[in-house]
Symmetry: C2
Subunit: 504 residues, 2 copies
């Protein structure tokens, strides 16, 4: 009797978790559709629908039935490792989610939806004042969120934990300080060395349709993204989302006078998509069936975008096909010229277009502003000035307008505060993982021919398949034998850019 | 106290109905996405997700909380006419839906999803045997559905009532018999008269992109479908769906050697979309916020497609723009030639391409086969032969293969049995409504200039705005002063085709 009753509890729990997962997929589809397909007059009702379904999802996950089933299943104990992992992660999510009242979750989603639309308009008009009240609302809700969730040291810990389970604000401060200390001198050396390169090639015309075709060809052939389980659309801010491991949606935007945006952007989102595609089908429609954290996710996107897509060996392999797709760009160029052009180090205004050396300084800036906002040391009204001051301090530039400054990113409009640090954590991890994979000489040799199939398989086995069964820390330790550190990334930057800029 | 408690009941009931409506919108979006955007490998999980959310929607609508709120709200009585209508229609839907167990609804959705995919393959291969077991499953479930819902006279009444509330099988038999008696002689006369027309113009090349542009231009300018609240995509079988009154999705398919398919198809779906767009915003996210019945819906699509889109006055107005969009088609032609070509009467195999005179015979055939299947007088295995025999009897043709015969329509794969008769009911109503609107001389004059704005406003006021507040019967009586009959349609056919074919 006990066994039967408890087996039923686990099976019933799984069915309930499937339902929650299906609601999440529906919400994800509504969001993807809103960003890529939806007629604009539909926004008002869509916002109401998304808020209402998010509330329902929260209610179903946090309701008494889930609580009782979870307790009953825990009492019986799991019969398999996967079930044990499922119970552990579900318990963690449940305890966290039950701290949030349904009405609060609905308010959050509705506010974020409104802020997102305000941000689109504000960015188009470079009008921060239009966005400010919506950002203030998001910030107020985020503060309430941190209080509801709870934290030991810093309210920001409660936010970080959503994106990077187990990571603390103090740790991020430390890693960022280490990274700053060891890469700021490199950046200064590069800037001081001067740069005689001719980068006009990057703004030569490359029609959108041809950009799309070439970037998808590479995404398929090199990175494994096939149209039978994916699609590429256009949106204001590129993103990846998925509604199952076989239903991957990535987006991009095209600039016909600056091809790196869509090319590297598409390969970046492909890295995210292939992570989700690699999660074991055994975890389907459960809380385990997605990436372990944003940092681990970003390590995959950055690997495809930068470590592979911006490598010398990649451009040797793909130059001829690139030249065929973009004859105006390639005229009089060779693989080495494109390699150097797409790796230009240049302090600039826009995070998503930043090179590998300056990128992390964009992140440090956002991290510090978020901390100040959360601590109440900085008001929303003073945010643009604070942004511009930090840009001057780290990057040496002052944005001419807020569209190219504080309004450039979608994140705050979507309530994603505490999210930015994971970009830099992902950068660090990307090199640490690639170094580990290359310990296998066959993987190293294939990668040096721009044949990434063996590397992708290593990533699937060592990272992707686990979904959320392992914590980010466990994945990093398991795959690389070490804890996350800035060492590999610092070494990578010095070697790559020392070579390009003839330093040392 | 009583007032407060009961007002709360109505408000709570509305919130719950909003949630059910939002789940329905999510399911609709998942379906639209599956038909127009989704990568093919995503189909397996999407099917599970759709079945699970349909089950949840059913459970929420039929649960004890809805029951109690509905009873409490009814006890209090409505404070407005809209609320009274909401309570009445919700009670009708609730009583019907509570007859279906959740597990049955989930099985239904899952079976229909599987059958739909089997049908796509079967039609492509013209392989009825591949589809047969899925159709059998759908049919078995439909029979169980009719028993669960209940009926007085004929199990088919239970099906009809879903699509055409209040309509009985016996009535349909009667109206169809009347229509057959009064239009079969006309069809025979036309066929006997012979046809010296040259219809090669219909298969002249008209590139898909230009078809799309012209059909959308007309849909916007003549029929009011603006891109701010709508979009047009491609799917295997054209359809209209919507997720709010301002989020209308229509689909089409292009044949570059037969332009009438996408042109008239797009205007047909535009008629459906504009009906949904015209429903009062006061009814948003409630059970009242859609068209009253499929027949009333079809009256709107047929009016745009046939009564307007295939009118002589339309082609006089739009010929020059058509000629610009399709110079190869228009070469050596004039408005009258295109008018006659697109109104060719010719017995043919495919329902969706049938002319106005033969169309209803395609429907009678399906109606009679459905009755035989439901009564058990016909087996699924014998269906293709029965189809072909009836085609010979009514249309005078035998399909060369099942793809052009019994497999041509999507409906049975989607479990839509009892749906076909509404097409003919809609045809009859379309003329009855247009005749009523034209009693207003200003509407008649504008319509004769192909300015349909006054007619559209009349439709909005007399038909669209009510959503499901009025029954189909009430709408027809209210708008035309008479019950639905075949009279107006029979007169229309005789006048239009008597003129074209020089009869009488």
């Amino acid at each position: 009797m006990t066994t039967t009753a408890s087996s039923t509890a686990l099976a019933d729990l799984k069915r309930r978790l499937n339902l929650v997962s299906d609601l999440s997929a529906a919400g994800g589809l509504m969001n993807w559709d809103q960003e890529t397909q939806m007629p604009k007059d539909a926004a008002r009702v869509r916002g109401l629908q998304m808020a209402s379904l998010a509330g329902l999802q929260h209610e179903l996950f946090t309701g008494d039935e889930t609580k009782n089933l979870l307790e009953a299943a825990e009492q019986q104990g799991a019969q398999s490792e996967i079930d044990a992992d499922l119970l552990r992660v579900t318990r963690r999510d449940f305890d966290k989610a039950t701290k949030l009242p349904t009405a609060f979750v609905e308010e959050l989603v509705q506010a974020q939806n409104e802020a997102h639309h305000a941000w689109i308009k504000a960015r188009a008009d470079s009008d921060f004042a239009h966005f400010a009240p919506f950002l203030q609302h998001n910030l107020d809700l985020t503060r309430r969120y941190a209080e509801l969730i709870g934290y030991d040291e810093h309210p920001y810990d409660a936010l970080l934990d959503d994106y990077e389970p187990g990571m603390k604000t103090a740790q991020v401060r430390e890693i960022f300080a280490d990274l700053r200390e060891r890469t700021l001198p490199l950046l200064k050396k590069i800037v001081a060395a001067g740069d005689a390169g001719d980068y006009g090639v990057l703004s030569r015309p490359f029609p959108a349709a041809a950009q799309r075709e070439f970037s998808l060809k590479v995404a398929e052939e090199a990175f494994g993204l096939l149209p039978s389980f994916s699609r590429l659309d256009i949106s204001a801010h590129p993103f990846q989302t998925n509604f199952s491991a076989d239903d991957l949606r990535i987006t991009t935007r095209f600039d016909e006078q600056y091809f790196p945006m869509s090319l590297f952007g598409t390969w970046h989102e492909t890295g995210h998509a292939m992570y989700e595609h690699g999660v074991s089908r055994e975890l389907e429609r459960t809380p385990l069936s997605r990436g372990a954290s944003l940092g681990v996710h970003e390590s995959q996107s950055r690997m495809f975008e930068n470590l592979l897509g911006r490598s010398r060996t990649f451009w040797r392999r793909y130059f001829d096909e690139f030249a065929e797709a973009a004859p105006d760009v390639a005229a009089g160029q060779d693989a080495e010229a494109i390699y150097r052009a797409v790796n230009r180090v240049e302090p600039s205004l826009i995070r998503v277009e930043a090179d590998e050396v300056t990128y992390n300084f964009h992140i440090m800036l956002r991290f510090e502003l978020e901390l100040s906002l959360m601590e109440g040391q900085l008001t929303v009204a003073d945010l643009p000035a604070a942004w511009n001051a930090k840009m001057q301090e780290y990057i040496g530039l002052t944005p001419p307008n807020d569209a190219e400054g504080v309004l450039q990113d979608v994140h705050w409009s979507a309530g994603l505060i505490g999210y930015f640090p994971t970009y830099t954590l992902g950068n660090l991890l990307s090199v640490q993982l690639l170094d580990a994979a290359r310990q296998d000489s066959q993987i190293a040799a294939a990668t040096d021919r721009a044949d990434y199939a063996p590397l992708r398989e290593w990533l699937r086995v060592n990272v992707h398949q686990y979904g959320r069964r392992r914590t980010p820390g466990q994945i990093v330790e398991g795959a690389t034998g070490q804890a996350l550190s800035a060492d590999a990334y610092v070494k990578y930057l010095h070697e790559k850019y020392g070579d390009i800029y003839g330093l040392e």
